[in-house]
């Protein structure tokens, strides 16, 4: 097999890998800015320099040439090479900055150039704290600057589109953003304008940067030149904690991180997963975070004599149980494509325990919304999970007829809004008791509900979602809910990079805590209140039971799913 020597160590390789990627894959750090593994390689930042040599061989015999001491002679290329664009070939001798003074100096020189016209406004820059320029300048850059002139001035606070704002002075012209629109999203909505040191990215005349994937350039930008119109100046990076999760605005289940401070989700960024979304996230997934913070219900409610009253969880569950018992066989359950597999499974078990029937789940299709990439026609995250549990979409007509014929003695709705979804009208529900698990006070079915049980959202719960392609993925809580729950707290501790939240993050104080509970906690409470033999075992064990029971979930334990998900066998 072919091999190269990097900093004195020999590595084997196959094919023709690019040196920078090869080094990154092998844990060798090489400072760089413009290179991105999924895009073309323009080698324009000139930061990733390395020294490349080859062993000299005798032309005729092919034997290694040696000096007087018998050491092989290495001939180095006259210029330093950019490792991002350098393809490895057998026998090369590579020196990175770790073993070459020349390379280290060249990289220091380059950082000096990068900084002379950079505004260095880190104290007010959104990128500070996770900025490749800042980090690499501190690690490898020169001390101070020899530049004693006025920096170039360029436009600031330019709204490129509805969601992306440019500060051209911070731009280091790496062209990652323009390459993204040219090569990945293919919207061609960004281009570099002007020349030389005045260069900056801009939309072509008459265009706005409004493509559905525009916000990806914010993550791609190695400096704070491209910022989110929405998140700009909302929080410093180090004030937030992030939790690995998935997005739930559609059935793709793109992997993401939820960034939280004081128990409010402030932004959503993509999390790399080659099997799902690679490095990208549609704007709709990022902009949908407010629903974790706003219009949230304050604890369970029960309707008595026509009016809604706050109730304790125990009382609310007991009332729900009474209504279910009263309905007996006529209790009808609606599963949810918004709820995780665990909750839906427990709903099926609850229905069986009280002798009722699960009608199916409510589908949320929006034909024409999908784009064959990361947006889908299906606007709910777990339709596939419901199907794999043997559930089918509920038809509006069938449901209305059933209600009209008096076959429904109580309607139990998990995490959905049948009225808002147009499945039934409020009038249809006026005569039957309705038990509703809900996320938001805007839920239109609330008006007809007799028991309202606030649900933990994807940002607060533990659970499994199955995307359109049959990939089962776990979520962990990014923010806390009111009332201590050991499982949630432990998972949250584990999921947050810092385990406790930063000193700037008051996640444990009472403000912004929502009084809600995950389905897998509430459903067993209702079941027990109804006198059923139902153990509260936590989501991990529930999922194991699902994996053991359903062929369609074979192998999907928390351990197997990990953070990257698990591809389920075809259904």
């Amino acid at each position: 097999m072919a091999s190269v020597t990097i900093d004195g160590r020999t590595y084997e390789f196959e094919g023709r890998p690019r040196l920078l990627q090869f080094c990154l894959d092998h844990g060798i750090e090489i400072p760089h800015f413009c290179y991105h593994p999924s895009m073309s390689v323009p080698a324009n930042c000139r930061q990733c320099l390395i020294d490349v040599g080859a062993l000299m061989r005798n032309r005729a015999t092919g034997a290694l040439e040696r000096d007087e001491d018998g050491a092989p002679i290495i001939r180095y290329m006259p210029k330093l090479q950019t490792s991002c664009s350098h393809t490895l070939s057998d026998g090369q001798v590579i020196h990175t900055r770790r073993t070459s003074q020349k390379v280290a100096q060249a990289q220091r020189d380059n950082l000096e150039f990068l900084l002379i016209n950079h505004p260095l406004d880190c104290p007010i820059c959104d990128q500070a704290g996770m900025c490749p320029l800042q980090i690499q300048a501190y690690k490898y850059g020169p001390e101070g600057s020899r530049f004693e002139f006025k920096k170039t001035h360029k436009p600031k606070k330019v709204k490129l589109g509805p969601r992306v704002v440019l500060d051209a002075e911070r731009c280091i012209n790496c062209t990652r953003c323009t390459r993204f629109t040219d090569e990945i999203s293919k919207s061609h909505q960004l281009t570099i304008i002007e020349r030389g040191v005045k260069n900056y990215p801009m939309t072509p005349p008459g265009m706005t940067f409004d493509e559905p994937y525009s916000m990806n350039v914010i993550d791609l930008c190695p400096v704070g030149a491209l910022t989110s119109a929405d998140f700009r100046f909302q929080a410093r990076i180090w004030e937030m904690s992030s939790a690995p999760s998935i997005t739930t605005t559609n059935a793709k289940g793109s992997n993401c991180n939820y960034w939280v401070r004081d128990n409010l989700v402030l932004r959503v960024t993509p999390r790399e997963n080659p099997a799902v979304n690679e490095f990208w996230l549609p704007d709709e997934d990022r902009m949908a975070y407010r629903r974790f913070n706003e219009d949230r219900p304050e604890g369970p409610q029960v309707r008595t004599r026509g009016a809604f009253h706050a109730a304790s969880w125990e009382d609310a569950c007991a009332y729900a149980a009474r209504l279910l018992r009263g309905a007996g066989k006529r209790a009808l359950f609606l599963a949810s494509a918004h709820a995780p597999v665990e909750d839906n499974y427990l709903l099926i078990r609850l229905a069986a325990a009280v002798g009722g029937r699960v009608a199916g789940f409510i589908e949320h299709m929006e034909p024409g919304h999908g784009d064959g990439w990361l947006r889908t026609d299906d606007r709910a995250p777990n339709s596939e999970g419901c199907r794999r549990l043997g559930l089918a979409p509920v038809g509006a007509e069938m449901l209305r007829e059933e209600i009209a014929s008096g076959a429904v003695g109580a309607l139990y709705v998990l995490d959905d809004d049948p009225v808002g979804a147009g499945l039934v009208r409020s009038e249809d529900l006026s005569d039957i008791p309705v038990i509703l698990h809900h996320y938001h006070t805007t839920n239109e079915t609330l008006l007809s509900a007799d028991v309202a049980l606030p649900s933990a959202t994807v940002a607060e719960t533990i659970g499994t979602y199955v995307n359109e392609d049959g990939r089962a993925q776990r979520v962990v809580p990014a923010k806390a809910v009111r009332g201590a729950h050991r499982t949630l707290m432990m998972q949250m501790g584990l999921s947050r990079a810092d385990r406790h939240g930063t000193p700037f993050d008051r996640w444990h104080n009472e403000s912004n805590l929502i009084n809600c509970k995950p389905g897998w906690e509430v459903l067993p409470m209702v079941a027990r209140a109804a006198g059923c033999d139902f153990m509260d075992r936590g989501p991990r064990k529930v999922m194991r039971e699902v994996a053991d029971t359903f062929e369609a979930f074979a192998g999907a334990t928390y351990k197997v799913m990990g953070l990257g998900g698990h591809s389920l066998p075809p259904r």
């Binding site: 323009p42 080698a43 060249a106 150039f113 002379i116 030389g196």
Partner: protein, 430 residues
């Protein structure tokens, strides 16, 4: 004092011959060299003749033309191949291609057609600097006549060989003269030079095999065909033969473009061709090949001839043979200030060292020129040269660094005289 140009005084011009109205097809004639090539030679033979002639590129780098043609990969069905003629002439002090386009465009067009034949290209893009609007109009009109006469286009002169010439107008950026940047520009993109490898012969215009040559280089081809490779190889300096269009400017009595054999003594060009220094002043410096090549002090040009070898020994380069003569009154700091301004203005801004370094250099030289500079600025400038050279995608950063380095090193006194004497400014001392 040995000129390599032999009996240059009796040299007969072939690129810009003294013929009235040569730019007209009727005067130029009907492409005899092309006719000869199509009738007598295979493409390989044409490339062989050019290789034997020793012709080296006139675009600045002096690469052997025949060798460049031979880099084209074997012909593959369905894979188009292109020739590109670089007429973007924008290097300061260079104005030779312009003369060709004005006075002898057909020789360039004929050269293009022969090169197209030699590399089996069906299309040549002729990229002309946009400011040459008048000559573009002229070339368009003359090209139309050539098409009419079936010297270009389908089935040329009934030989079965078909090829097209497409004239493309540049939009005023120096960087578009860099070969890969020119291709990006042709493709309708931003003129950012590409990283090499891959070289144009592997992946040029739209990713297809492409050969690119300077307009002057291609205009040399018809005479080579007509008079033979030996004739051409016998003109001027052996390692760098052929006629050279010397573009002479600066403080001389008769500036202009002069066609003479390569290997002319710089002193001959100054005294006998350009009529000596204006007002009888003494020579101070010569930039022998366009603004980017290292400047030579007057005392460095004794016996130096205009060919790659001799100039290299003297510490400079032939470049485009655009010669700038500066007299004793010249302020070398002001000169360098103008040069750095040019490269600052023309850097495409793709690579960090060039984008930020060129501007910094201009800042520093301007400060020195205005009497505000410090001695340590000179060392900083030399540092910046080191930090830019050889670390960029294209050679513009090198072209920007060479004049800075060499003007400072060769005229350090001029610079020191303009700097404050100590590295501390008056203010800090007080």
């Amino acid at each position: 004092m040995a000129t390599k140009a032999g009996d240059w005084r009796s040299y007969q011009r072939v690129l810009l011959p003294p013929v009235r109205d040569l730019h007209k097809l009727s005067v130029y004639g009907d492409y005899a060299a092309l006719r000869k090539v199509l009738a007598e030679y295979s493409p390989q033979e044409v490339a062989g003749i050019v290789k034997k002639s020793g012709l080296r590129g006139r675009g600045g780098a002096g690469f052997p033309t025949g060798l460049k043609w031979s880099f084209m990969p074997p012909i593959k069905a369905g894979v188009p191949r292109f020739l590109c003629c670089n007429g973007d002439e924008s290097e300061p002090g260079t104005f030779k291609d312009r003369q060709l386009m004005e006075f002898n465009p057909h020789q360039m067009l004929e050269g293009i057609l022969i090169a197209n034949y030699a590399i089996t290209a069906k299309t040549c893009y002729l990229y002309v600097r946009g400011e040459f609007a008048d000559w573009i109009t002229l070339i368009d009109a003359e090209l139309a006549k050539a098409y009419e006469a079936n010297l270009v286009g389908d089935n040329i002169m009934g030989t079965g060989f078909s090829t097209d010439i497409v004239v493309h107008k540049g939009a005023g950026a120096y960087i578009c003269g860099e070969e890969t940047s020119l291709m990006e520009s042709l493709e309708g993109k931003r003129a950012y030079p590409r990283i090499k490898p891959p070289f144009p012969a592997q992946s040029g215009i739209w990713g297809y095999p492409t050969t690119i040559n300077n307009a002057d280089t291609l205009a040399c081809v018809p005479p080579i065909i007509k008079r033979g490779a030996e004739w051409f190889a016998g003109i001027g300096a052996p390692g760098h033969p052929g006629p050279i269009l010397y573009g002479i400017s600066g403080h001389v009595n008769c500036p202009g473009v002069y066609e003479y054999p390569s290997g002319m003594l710089i002193t001959d060009l100054l005294e006998e061709v350009a009529g000596g220094m204006r007002g009888g002043k003494a020579l101070k410096a010569v930039v022998p090949g366009g603004a980017s090549v290292p400047v030579l002090r007057a005392d460095m040009i004794d016996g130096v001839t205009m060919d790659a070898g001799s100039l290299k020994k003297a510490g400079s380069m032939l470049g485009t043979a655009g010669m700038l003569f500066l007299d004793e009154d010249t302020d070398m700091v002001a000169f360098l200030r103008r040069v750095t301004r040019f490269y600052h203005h023309e850097s495409c801004g793709q690579c960090t060292p060039c984008r930020d370094g060129t501007g910094w250099m201009e800042n520093l030289v301007t400060r020195i020129d205005e009497g505000e500079g410090n001695l340590r600025d000179l060392d900083l400038l030399l540092d910046l040269c080191n930090q830019m050279e050889g670390r960029t995608v294209c050679a513009l950063a090198d072209a920007a660094a060479w004049p800075v380095r060499n003007t400072i090193l060769r005229f350090r006194k001029d610079f020191e005289a303009k700097c404050r004497s100590s590295m501390w400014t008056a203010k800090t001392v007080a």
